[in-house]
Structures are given as structure tokens and as C-alpha cells.
Amino acid sequence: MKLVIEQLRIQYGSIIAIDDISCAASRGKVTVVVGPNAVGKSTLLRACIGAVRPATGRVVLEGRAVHEWRAAALASRLAYVPQQSTVAGGFTVREVVELGRYALPPDRSHIDRAMGTMEVRELAERSFNHLSHGQQQRVTLARALAQSSDDGILILDEPMSGMDLDHMLRSMRLLRRLAEGGATILLAVHDLDAAAHFADDAWLLQGGRLALAGPAREVLKPGRLTETFGVRFDEVVTGSGELHLVPVFDP
């Protein structure tokens, strides 16, 4: 499934959060949205799940604007992981993951597999609200996996925030595998080096506009990032011969 953004403009009163963005997240690819704070990354992702009504333009899925889809029909094609999930009440981890199939037929094996993939089975009976932020993010990812199909769309807003390094890398690899299996992955990230390593495509946002879009290795270049973030970036080659993006901390 392909998610197409057409001349999107999102406005909150007189504030323009997103201005004239056109691009597309393709099936089988991991696409990252990067940019400094408050450039509209989360707003763009919220528009992609139909949570924000555009002032002009639209986000299109299967020929129809996402905000016009019925919630249940959209849920069978598209899953979402917010920056921080909030669940009122004392729901256990298993109950939260099961809610991923709220609008879909119950499927215990799918739920078990999602929990196993995100390594949250041992947390199954613990209260979601008593977990650390990183653990909650893993559970929320498991909930999204329980909801999504192999060729579905997964939209994630900083899904790795709060995760330890090991789980962050595993989650990145998982998203990569899902994309290779036919899913469409669109995520906002802060870790530019990880983004350059795992993503196929990148969208660089600046001031609510799309500054650059294309293959991740071309978009996430030190010169362009320095210009956007106001911090000097460098490319370094590790002992194993891998190229990495690092910010340079000037004294």
C-alpha cells in the first residue's frame, strides 16, 4: 500500500504547521521523517492517520483521503504508534496488545506473535501504566503489530524514544524486516545515524516545509543536516569500515 501526500497544508488558527508538502511513502520501504523540534513531524504523521483535517491538500490511501475513511476500515490497513501512549485504567500489557485488534477479528496467535516479537510476553500480566517509558513503547509497538497485516502501513512517531540501545536496534531491524515483507513503514526519528542506516527514504522537514526528500543516504548528508539543524555533522568510518554520521561538538 502506498501513502501519497498531495500539497498538504495544515493550519492551527493563524499558525501554519505544515506548508505545501507533497511526497509518498512506498510499499516495501522504510521512510524516515527527520528535522529539528517543532518543524511539524508529528503533525505530518497525524495527518497521515487522518487525525488532522488539512486546510488544503490531502493524504491519499487507495484513492481516498485518509480523513474520509471510516475508522474501522482504516484500522485494517494502517496502524499508528504515538510518541507516548497513554492508557487510562489498570489495563495489563496483554489487554493493551489485544486492543490492537479492536476493529478486527480476534486472532490470538497474531497477538502472541506480536508480543513475542517485541519481547513483552514476560510483562503480559503487568499493568501498562507501571512500566518504564521504553517498555511502554515496546508494548505499543506490539499493539500496532497485532493490528497490522503483512502488507499494511505502519506509522510511528519516535517509536524508539526511551528504549535501551539493544531494543532500539532490534526494533529498527524489525521495521526493516517488515518493510522487506511488504509493509509500508513511515516513522519520525531523532537519531539521524540510525535513520541513515536503516531507512530507504528520508523526508527532511524545515519550518513546516519539505526541505528535501529522496533516498536516505542522499538526504542525510552532513552539509544538508548542518544547514537544517545548525549543528556541524561529520561522516566517520569505523574500524569495521562502516560509515556513520556524527554531530561535531565544537568547544
Binding site: 487525525a51 475508522a71 497513554t86 485504567g89 479492536y102 499493568s127 493490528q147
Partner: protein
């Protein structure tokens, strides 16, 4: 949250407790100035006690389910019809209706005509006024209890308290405006009372509204589970949020309004019963709704039994006094232990 045991077993325990308390209430006998005794009532008294049990059960369960709905709707475990001012709004509506009814009766119709107005019609008009008052307050609290577009638990409670105080002031004014002979009745009604002399038709209406509201809430169990996520996430898993919220809103308001019309504004049952039920059966709403209904019925039947058993020279203590005495500390406990955080 630790859960006491298997949910279905806990549901049966609650049902058993409610039945046992109902039996106790039926058997409590304390004539004015006499001693307390337990005996199966004679047929002449039995009908009144059965009515008291039925009123307490339907009012208690409706308040509890209204509380469950409001807690899910507002994602706030401190929400209840009383705390959010819905009961006060409904109360103001009922008193305003009563006042208008008295004015009309005293100015435009003859005494004979006014006495022919059946208690059923009075109850129906009270329920309607309560509904308008309750829904109006809920709309105000819902509209003002937001910060940057997001429902804020603390703001909701504070606005509820303020609106409740304003409605209380309105009720005091109306209380002063009615004649002395009505004032005593109004005062008892304001403290929350279980009327064992309720008109049969009025009781049927109350039972019908209560049963329908509880059934709707039960059918909305999964939607209420989904609505515990924030808006974006709830929508993303497939919940039609506007429709679900409207249904929760109207059902919660309707149930609370009916209870106020029947028994006056009774405090805290809508708060304690959902929390007690949640401790026993967990947070899944399809079960929680029925567990809370049973807990609410049990609490109010117990309060009415206490009211029937304790004799003061001034007469019976209204049930609202007992629920406030239990519910007040419970509310503080919820705040202090953090269980009141969403």
C-alpha cells in the same frame, strides 16, 4: 492494579452480596421509638420494603454505571456524576421544575385540578427537568475542562466542583422561594432518600431507564476499552470516537438524571462502586459495567438498610448521609494513593 480473583467468580460474589443485603433490608424492622428486630415483613409492609429495595438497587446500579461511563468518557478515574456536578445540575433541574409546577398550580389552576395531577406525571416531568439540568452541566464541564484542546483530569474535577457549587446556590434560592410545607420535603430529597412509597408507574419508568442504560453501557464495553487510549490512538485502532463519546455522554447523563429524579442527588456511589468493581474484576468494561452495577446496588441497599436500622429522634437518616460518609474518605484515598491519576 492487583485483581482479587477470577472475574466471573467475583461477579457472582457481588451478585450474592447484593441479594444478601436486599434480604437484610427486607427483614429490618424498627418502628418509630421501638427496638430493632429482624423478621420477614407482614404482607402489608412487605410491598413498601420491596419498593425500597427496588429503588435502592436501580438508583445504586444506575449511579455506578453512570460513573463507569463518565470515567471512560473523560479518561478520569475521579469522574462521577456527583463530582462532575451532573447530580447537582440534575437536582437544580428537578427543583426548578418543581418550583415552576408549584407556581403554575398556585396561580392558574384550581386546587382540584392540581391534586389530580398524578405522581407519575410529576415523576416524568422531574426526570425530564433532571435530564436537561444534568446534560447541560456535563456539556459545560466537558467544554471547559480542556487545556490546549486535551481533556485535563484536574480541570474537569475543579470545574465540576465550581459548577456544582453554583447549582447548589441555585437550589438554595429555589428552596427559599417555595412555601414552608414543601421545604421540608425538598430538604429530605436534597439529602438523598429512598422513597418506599414510590408510585408503581414511576418505579417502572425508573427501572426501564436504568435497565436500558446499563444494557447500552454493557454493549459499549469494548468501545469504552478502546476509548481509554488518547484520541489519535483510539481512532487508529478503529474506534469511531465521536459516535462512542456521544453515546457515553447521553447514557451517563440520562442514568444520572433518572437517579436524581427518583432519589435526589446521592453522593459518591458513582465513584466508589466503579473502583470497587475494578479491584474485583479488572478494567475491561464489558464486565466492569455489570460488576459496578451490582456493587452500586449493594452499596445503596446497604445504606438504606443502615438508614432503616438507625433511629434518631428526628427521624431516619437519609441514605445520602451514609454514602457521603463512606465516599468522602474513599475519594481522598483515591487522590492520595495515586489511583485517581488517569
Amino acid at each position: 492494579m492487583r485483581r482479587a480473583g477470577k472475574p466471573m467468580a467475583m461477579l457472582l460474589v457481588l451478585a450474592g452480596a447484593a441479594c444478601a443485603l436486599a434480604l437484610l433490608r427486607l427483614c429490618i424492622d424498627r418502628p418509630p421509638g421501638g427496638a430493632l428486630s429482624l423478621a420477614w415483613p407482614e404482607p402489608a409492609f412487605a410491598v413498601f420494603r420491596w419498593k425500597a429495595v427496588a429503588v435502592a438497587a436501580i438508583v445504586g446500579s444506575s449511579l455506578a454505571v453512570s460513573g463507569v461511563l463518565l470515567q471512560a468518557l473523560l479518561r478520569n478515574p475521579l469522574a462521577s456524576p456527583f463530582v462532575l456536578g451532573v447530580s447537582s445540575g440534575a437536582g437544580l433541574g428537578v427543583m426548578f421544575g418543581m418550583y415552576v409546577g408549584w407556581r403554575v398550580a398556585s396561580t392558574s389552576v384550581t386546587q382540584a385540578e392540581s391534586t389530580t395531577r398524578s405522581s407519575l406525571a410529576v415523576f416524568a416531568s422531574s426526570t425530564f427537568s433532571a435530564l436537561i439540568g444534568g446534560i447541560a452541566v456535563l456539556s459545560i464541564v466537558f467544554g471547559l475542562g480542556r487545556r490546549r484542546g486535551v481533556l485535563d483530569p484536574l480541570s474537569l474535577v475543579l470545574i465540576g466542583v465550581v459548577i456544582s457549587a453554583m447549582c447548589g446556590a441555585g437550589m438554595m434560592v429555589l428552596e427559599l422561594l417555595v412555601p414552608n410545607r414543601l421545604r421540608g420535603d425538598l430538604l429530605m430529597w436534597l439529602m438523598g432518600r429512598i422513597d418506599q412509597g414510590i408510585d408503581g408507574g414511576a418505579l417502572m419508568i425508573a427501572v426501564t431507564i436504568g435497565a436500558m442504560g446499563i444494557a447500552v453501557a454493557g454493549l459499549m464495553g469494548r468501545a469504552m476499552d478502546a476509548s481509554t487510549f488518547d484520541d489519535d490512538e483510539a481512532r487508529s485502532i478503529g474506534l469511531n470516537l465521536p459516535k462512542a463519546r456521544l453515546l457515553m455522554f447521553v447514557t451517563a447523563g440520562g442514568l444520572a438524571a433518572m437517579t436524581v429524579a427518583v432519589a435526589g442527588p446521592i453522593a459518591f456511589v458513582g465513584l466508589i462502586a466503579p473502583h470497587a468493581a475494578r479491584l474485583l474484576v479488572g478494567p475491561r468494561h464489558s464486565l466492569l459495567v455489570f460488576a459496578a452495577a451490582l456493587a452500586g446496588a449493594a452499596i445503596l441497599i446497604a445504606a438504606d438498610a443502615a438508614s432503616a436500622a438507625i433511629e434518631l429522634h428526628a427521624g431516619r437518616i437519609p441514605v445520602g448521609v451514609f454514602t457521603a460518609l463512606i465516599g468522602g474518605p474513599a475519594f481522598i484515598w483515591l487522590l492520595k494513593t495515586g489511583r485517581g491519576q488517569s
